[in-house]
Amino acid sequence: MNTLPVTEADLHAYVDGLLPPSRRVDIEAYLAAHPKESGRVNAFRAQNAALHAQFDHVLDEPLPNRLRGSTGLQRRDWWQRIVAGLLIAVISGSGGWLLHTLPVADVPLTQNVAADNAADQRSISLAHEAAIAHVVYSPDVRHPVEIGADQEEQLVAWLTKRMGSDVHPPKLGKLGYELIGGRLLPGQRGPVAQFMYHDLAGQRLTLYVSTEQTHNKDNSFRFAQEGPVNVFYWIDGKFGYALSAGTDKGELARIATAVYEQVEHQRS
């Protein structure tokens, strides 16, 4: 045998799975002949496992309340501040994009901000909040939702109870989008729901449902763009819906139409 001598660094790299397969074989042979070193290696592996067992749950935790207290900000605002700052930092470099919604429906941007149109303001903030929630949660690989689609009944029961209204995720399988699950988020005056879907390519889509709209009869579709995220949104009575994704406007409009038809049907 002409293998390299086994070093302390080799043993650690073995524990951490950082060795190429050929070298692993060398180390395994060495350990078989050296029980004391083998015991150390096993203890180090147990340490790795114990650390994961103890701390991995932090990955699932929502942002704790104490951060709101210390910053004097609402949790959502804290995120919003970060996300807004990030988007501005990223995009201002490449063309002066502003963190504004760009409605295409019927009202130019400047008039939208007029104070006499509070309902419009509210629907714009709906799109804005939905886009932020999309940016925050959709990239999350391990924990995109609180309750998964495998527990859809539980998800519906929980959201319905917390929102005080019937809230069901629309079925978008025919359009190629499968439900991943949903979560509850803080809205301006109460809870809002977010459902997440993905297509075969892993492209994610979120539907944001709020029940805090003030009886706006105008339920026409509107479109907004928040950085990389496109949003279709509409108001229907107290319900506000916003569909967000990185997909193009045409595709998103097609899905928004399907969502609209289903929720109308559910409500009638």
Partner: protein, 168 residues
Amino acid sequence: MPDASIQLLSCLPRLRRYARALMGSKMEADDLVQVTVERGWSRLASWRRGSDMRVWLFSIMHNLHVDQLRPPSVSTEVLDGDTPMPQVNASQANRLEIRDMESALQQLSAEQREVVLLVALEEMTYDEVAASLGVPLGTVMSRLSHGREKLRALMEGGALASPLKVIK
């Protein structure tokens, strides 16, 4: 579409997990995460596109942590009714083991703890750890080796302290 902001956001849960293990206190951990994210956000323009966002953020956190360790200041904690409840899903035996691990971890030096956690919990390569902490690779390996040995001694010492001693 995976731009810098999204990359930064996706690192947040891991920053929190690492900070919790490093600081031993949830409040201090979240303080550290918050200043790290704020600093990262304000310096996002200086992040080199294509370089590793995670290493960049962990190095910011490391520098802030070192700054915190430097002055022997009196730490203050805000106590309020929002203090979250601990997780209670572990069995009795697991809980004891976990407490041992947690207290053992806090007995390492901060330098050893950082390296052990970046390797064992964050699963960085040794080169990534060296880049995050701004130390040579040899220093990383030495701290890792000493840190793991000390943890092992502490955990085994804990077992010996139990009333059921093995007498040979």
